[in-house]
């Protein structure tokens, strides 16, 4: 029986826990496809029931293996559990090998378990940009807990602290000098400190080191951060870890992420389209908007006689204008006014009259004040052909906002009208 995408992008089917519908809806959210924003809105009110557990820690710490053990423990306790596992995208190709799931193969086969792997797609902070919305969806689908594994880049994992109700930092035994790095970075966000690979020699020493460090730190909100020794390989300490996570949710509550509303993807698309429509220079160069969303934009133009240089090929300035337009739209898509401060372009091949060229901008990194984008200009209506130019640019992100008439950042209430 063939199912149409209409039934597959249905909030009701997600609520019912229909696996196919949930999976397809995640794809729509992840790629900001048409219908995704409406679906997210329809399910938004149901978010906040599930206990969201973040699992972070250095690469190879044993996060995925520990999650596999937690899946087995949750299954034993009769829970429906979802995992969102984020792996890094290659900064060169944009591709990714999503390797977390392979550690959970056996447990992921169980009926009550839903596992989804995501690539970080250049998003900084250890998560994919759409992770929050995907967690909301799994929450609405009735999974509890929802476990999120971060990319494990080490210190830049603070995004998980805003997303998860309970944040478990996994520390492999024998951290040595790395203890300093952990102390400076992700230790601050830990609600639970988990020493992994408890079956190996240095594990108990690492527990002592971490306890020593915690003793120096002020307690936060009445919760005493425990140091838990686990061995996923032997299944030891896993039940105690789940108990501690439950106790933390009891003490500190659920739905931590809901305190920070996030603009819907539709906002970003509409905003970018509005900005493009106001861009007189781009219009004059016959540059058209093809697609845009949060942190990305695609524009295209057909090389006309007015774009040619004295050699009869497309002028470098025209290629620059095309790339720069994509850069400007992507960097302003989030809502705050962003101003270019530095760019670099390389020209790889000549383009000729009549050729259709597409420039696609994607976000490489973004902090509160600075953001960097990579733009590729390729032949073909959707940039499916070979590379003509590549462009890297950095913007300064101002405090001003595009959407509010006075140019001030909107307040929370003005942004979230029902």
């Amino acid at each position: 029986m063939e199912k149409s995408s209409l039934t597959l992008l249905s909030a009701d089917a997600v609520r019912r826990g229909d696996r196919a519908a949930i999976a397809r809806a995640i794809t729509a959210l992840e790629n900001e496809m048409p219908g995704a924003a409406a679906l997210a809105d329809a399910l938004a009110t149901e978010a906040g029931r599930a206990h969201v557990i973040g699992i972070t820690g250095p690469p190879g710490a044993g996060k995925s293996t520990l999650i596999a053990a937690l899946l087995a423990e949750c299954t034993k306790r009769g829970r429906r559990i979802a995992v969102v596992a984020v792996d890094p995208s290659s900064p060169l190709s944009g591709g990714a090998v999503l390797g977390d799931r392979i550690r959970m193969s056996e447990q992921a086969a169980a009926e009550n378990v839903f596992v989804r792997s995501l690539a970080s797609r250049g998003h900084a902070g250890g998560l994919a940009r759409t992770t929050r919305r995907i967690v909301d969806l799994l929450d609405a689908a009735g999974y509890d807990p929802v476990i999120v594994e971060t990319v494990g880049a080490g210190q830049s994992e603070v995004a998980i602290a805003a997303l998860a109700d309970t944040c478990a930092v996994v520390c492999p035994p024998g951290l040595g000098d790395d203890v300093q790095a952990i102390k400076a970075g992700i230790l601050e966000i830990a609600d639970l400190l988990v020493v992994s690979k408890g079956d190996s020699a240095l594990a108990t020493a690492t527990v002592r080191d971490l306890e020593g460090m915690l003793a120096l730190r002020a307690r936060r909100g009445g919760w005493k951060v425990p140091v838990l020794l686990t061995s996923a390989a032997r299944g030891e300490g896993v039940a105690a870890l789940l108990d501690a996570a439950d106790a933390h949710a009891q003490a500190c509550g659920r739905g931590r992420r809901l305190a920070r509303p996030e603009p819907a993807p539709a906002d970003e698309r509409a905003r970018t389209a509005a900005l493009a429509a106001r861009d007189a220079f781009a219009r004059n160069c016959r540059i058209e908007l093809v697609d845009a969303g949060a942190g990305h934009a695609e524009v295209a133009m057909t090389v006309g006689a007015e774009h040619l240089n004295f050699n009869g090929t497309c002028h470098g300035g025209a290629l620059f204008a095309l790339a720069d337009t994509a850069f400007g739209l992507a960097s302003n898509s989030h809502g705050r006014v962003a101003a270019g401060i530095e760019v670099h372009i390389s020209y790889h091949a000549a383009a000729r009259e009549g050729e259709r060229l597409a420039a696609r901008a994607s976000e490489v990194s973004r902090t509160r004040r600075l953001a960097t984008y990579r733009i590729e200009v390729r032949r073909g209506a959707r940039g499916e052909g070979d590379l003509v130019a590549s462009f890297t640019g950095t913007v300064y992100v101002t405090g001003r906002h595009h959407d509010s008439p006075d140019g001030e950042a909107p307040t929370r209430s003005s942004r979230r009208s029902p």
């Binding site: 196919a20 496809m33 799931r101 086969a109 989804r116």
Partner: protein, 138 residues
């Protein structure tokens, strides 16, 4: 829309060599795709569940021995799960008669030893685009 192909590289059946599938997985990543892969000896039901949850566009089955003979059962299981839009390719040593049987069962293409990784990547990209279009056709 900027959609990256999502591909599952897997092995079903009894053959435990997964070096080939790891190489293919790494190559598809380098070609800009998002790749999930499994350990060897996967049950068909587990592969179908994974393909559904991850919403992959293409499944690549690597077969060195006679594992490809199980692929028609995989095709049947995918159809039963409502995943008929997913493109399936098989890579490995597959005799001509078996290849015909695989294509009849709905396999999109069989790649024989010696095919360049670049050719595989090009084909997977096309197949993924077709699969996506079919999945999201209203």
């Amino acid at each position: 829309m900027d959609i990256r192909p999502k591909v599952l590289v897997t092995k079903i059946g009894l053959d435990g060599h997964d070096r080939g599938s790891r190489i293919v997985a790494a190559h598809l990543r380098d070609a800009g795709m998002e790749v999930v892969y499994t350990p060897p000896w996967q049950e068909i039901a587990a592969v179908v569940k994974l393909a559904q949850e991850e919403d992959v566009d293409v499944i690549g089955v690597s077969s060195l021995a006679t594992d490809h003979l199980i692929v028609p059962r995989l095709m049947e299981a995918l159809r039963a799960a409502g995943l008929s839009e997913v493109g399936v390719i098989v890579g490995g040593i597959v005799p001509d008669d078996d290849e015909r049987a695989l294509l009849d069962a709905g396999v999109a293409r069989v790649f024989h030893p010696g095919t360049s990784l670049a050719d595989i990547a090009t084909y997977v990209r096309e197949l993924a685009a077709r699969s996506r279009a079919a999945k999201f056709a209203a």
